[in-house]
């Protein structure tokens, strides 16, 4: 297809934890696009033998085939498997660590990344939108929770690409919602958007004036939502059943799916009625339990309280008090729960808007932004912020913030650092995101080395580190030695994300490519990296003599174990042994920081090293 034939249309997509939806601008108004099953595409994927079901049909398959049906994928996006330990029991399908430790889903023997699963949902949304529009759709704005970090945003962008979409922009869900309302009725004043969805919570405070939507502050939790409420009900059922002598402690996948569905139904019903009887088939008979609205509220109260704390923090960050708020907007299915909207209205002391429909409003706003970005209208402008602080590690593992949370994007920041060892020629630049004082408590985004610094006394070199955060929230870091003019630059590749190559490969290859292929390639990469590290370690033995008691022997044993793993075929085993070796030499490397050999000892893949040499 040539450029001129390409469809110019751009849609807005709300890629939700529970449901997804597309919208488009039509005659100056955003409208939801209804496909063959209505506008909403449940974010559910089911694998039926060789057939892939997405949306309504997949949701229907959930009860019959729970261990082949995947939902709440958004909770896994951009996460390491270790981040998710607590939720392993919750999901009826298997969540595992892939070869790099990233969270993935295992269906039969296949390991599928959340990015691919999200891509499958996006592809379905795209297909339905095309059906509704009667034309091809290639460009989209996709929304993410405002509190998504760099890795999660990058993962969402990658999913769009794999689904065959040009992602014009990733925008924040509450901001999108404000755009939709701004189009309709509110066009001036300070507004709060309270967005409680299936899996995530966000609150944003905006100032609207003459078509400008200025985000003043945002706060939230990417793991707090309606799913948690369902889970509380499920736990309650299990507890009550135990009292009647029915043990459901480690329910089968089928049982878990049944319980989850029963909990969801009860939760929805309790928004309308005072009590609800839940009946679950268990232990050959039926177990029934009556849950009252008050009991339900007690179950979810701690979660609702937490959302209110986030509201207070956002207000403090925006330097505003409650009386300065003109309007409150509710977004997300969970704001239908009476206790939730009452709590929000009480906190802000005013009735909240939900007239545009909490399920559709985000997609509608994304459609407005798609229209702005494609030149459709230039009277509206969104000025957004970055939700989390960005910085680098300095002496003692301390987080040195370069870009503060709630800074407007695009954002730029520069700071000059120096060395702390005499004659030091390398500096490792480690980039983190988060609000904690120590980098160990924050999210590692990536790292690189600035090499070839002129050897000088500690504290003499002047190394300038620059951060550039673009309108998509994607970070580029540059380090340069002011004296020698040496410069290194990287676009941050999230440690918990996919590499460019991996994304491109997924775009090229079929959706469910065999894990074998990945394993094979990974094994080769890891072998190369292992070779480099072993060589560097042996070289360190030759040039360095100040070892601690037993240190050298311990390192040699780790090398032997790594070499054994290299004779096998399992990349996971090599990764573990290599990590062991890296850990064993970390202390040694630190002590040799001024030696060139140390550069190769540091955690760094051959690929990265090669890139830095370019």
């Amino acid at each position: 297809m040539s450029m001129t034939e390409k469809s110019k249309i751009a849609i807005g997509i709300d890629l939700g934890t529970t449901n997804s939806l597309a919208a488009v601008m039509r005659d100056g108004r955003p409208v939801a696009l209804a496909g063959e099953h209505g506008a909403i595409v449940p974010s559910v994927i089911s694998f039926q033998n060789d057939q892939l079901l997405v949306g309504i049909p997949a949701r229907q398959a959930m009860l019959d085939n729970p261990d082949h049906t995947v939902y709440s994928v958004k909770r896994l996006m951009g996460k390491a498997a270790a981040d998710l330990k607590d939720s392993d029991d919750r999901l009826p399908f298997q969540v595992v660590a892939d070869s790099r430790g990233l969270a993935a889903v295992k269906i039969d023997q296949k390991i599928i990344s959340p990015v691919e699963l999200s891509a499958a949902i996006l592809r379905e949304v795209k297909k339905q939108a095309e059906k509704a529009l009667g034309m091809e759709v290639e460009r989209a704005v996709i929304t993410v929770p405002a509190y998504f970090d760099d890795a999660q945003r990058q993962a969402t962008r990658d999913a769009g690409k794999i689904a065959g979409l040009e992602v014009l922009r990733i925008i924040n869900e509450p901001t999108a919602a404000s755009l939709a309302y701004g189009m309709h009725q509110l066009n001036r004043g300070t507004i709060v958007v309270y967005d409680l969805g299936g899996g995530t919570f966000d609150v944003s405070i905006l100032r609207l004036e003459n078509g400008i939507f200025e985000v003043l502050a945002t706060a939230g939790d990417t793991r707090l939502g309606g799913d948690d409420f369902d889970m509380e009900i499920v736990n309650d059922i299990i507890k009550q059943a135990l009292k009647s002598g029915i043990i459901m402690d480690h329910p089968s996948p089928a049982m878990r799916a049944t319980l989850k569905r029963a909990a969801e139904n009860a939760k929805i019903a309790l928004s309308e009625v005072e009590e609800m009887t839940i009946v679950v088939r268990a232990g050959g008979g039926n177990f029934s339990l009556t849950l009252t609205a008050i009991e339900f509220e007690n179950l979810i109260r701690p979660y609702v309280e937490r959302t209110l704390d986030f509201c207070r923090r956002a207000l403090a960050d925006a330097k505003l008090t409650i009386d300065k708020i003109d309007e409150v907007i509710l977004v997300g299915g969970s704001t239908r729960i009476p206790m939730v909207f009452n709590a929000v209205e009480d906190l802000f002391g005013r009735p909240a808007h939900c007239d545009l429909g909490p399920d559709e409003v985000v997609a509608l706003g994304a459609a407005v932004q798609a229209d702005i970005l494609t030149g459709g209208r230039n009277d509206l402008l969104l000025l957004d912020v970055t939700p989390l602080s960005l910085g680098i590690e300095t002496l003692g593992g301390v987080m040195n913030v370069l870009i503060q949370r709630n800074s407007k994007i695009p954002a730029v920041s520069k700071e000059v650092f120096t060395t702390y060892v005499d004659g030091q020629t390398n500096v490792a630049i480690r980039v983190y995101q988060g609000e904690r004082e120590l980098v160990a408590d924050n999210r590692a985004l990536g790292n690189f080395d600035l090499t070839g610094i002129e050897p000088q006394r500690a504290g003499m070199p002047r190394i300038e580190v620059s951060f550039m955060l673009d309108a998509d929230g994607i970070l580029r870091v540059t380090a340069h030695d002011i004296r020698s003019g040496k410069q290194q630059q990287i676009t941050i590749q999230p440690s918990y994300g996919l590499t460019r190559d991996e994304v491109n490969q997924m775009v090229r290859e079929s959706f469910l490519h065999a894990q074998d292929d990945i394993d094979r390639r990974l094994f080769i990469e890891l072998s190369n990296e292992s070779g480099t590290v072993i060589k560097a370690t042996r070289r360190a033995f030759e040039v360095f003599s100040e070892f601690k008691d037993g240190e050298r022997q311990q390192i040699e044993e780790t090398i032997t174990r790594l070499e054994e793993a290299l004779r096998g075929t399992d990349p996971q085993a090599v990764r573990e042994r290599l990590d062991e070796l890296n850990d064993a030499t970390a202390d040694l490397a630190a002590r040799m920081a001024d030696d060139a050999v140390a550069g190769a000892l540091k955690r760094k893949s051959v690929e990265e090293a090669a890139k830095l040499m370019e």
Binding site: E214, L373, P410, A411
Partner: protein, 218 residues
Amino acid sequence: MPNPESVRTALDGAAKHLCWSCREETGEGPFCESCVKIQPAELMGDYFALFELPRAYAVDAQYLKNKFYELSRKFHPDFYGDKTDAEKTLARDNSAYLNTAFRTLSDPIKRAEYLLVRCARGYRVDLVPPQGLFEEILTAGELLEKNSLSSEDLTTLRETGRVFAVRQDERIVSLAGLFDRLVAGDDAAKGEIENAINEIKYLRTILDRIDQRLHKTI
């Protein structure tokens, strides 16, 4: 494609700027007068010049916000979706420069530091406790160290915070006059400005801690 970066460097210090794209003189605004292409915002001058403000400490918050919105409409990358890569990069850099300028000018401490660097060569920062508040600082320090606060403690902390806030505001107001003196050539004002900045910084740090503590206890 000419690289805006290199043109910018070449033009630094030149009285008149040539457009990176058409090589004609650009004029003073953010767009080239000949070809209407966006120009690097840094060429419009420092943060005060960008906002068309005199180099003075007192700024009108409403004016600042309106000017920020006006310039955002000129620079924001959202309006450069169908432009060349060079223009997209400029839009991003200009927006980032504008955002930093707005943040700096909106903040009483950052604005004072920025202006001081422009009016006087360098300045010294030593975070010493403000004079005459010794007792209040001691009290606040003790309360902030405590594991749990009684309702009496909370009242004391809140009141101490109010004393600090009042003093902070007084010092911020005093800066406008001090800077006027400095700009008029009174070098003695520099030391006083440094003291005021240090004091405001000290008070802000302690006020932040008090706010945090009061908030957590709610």
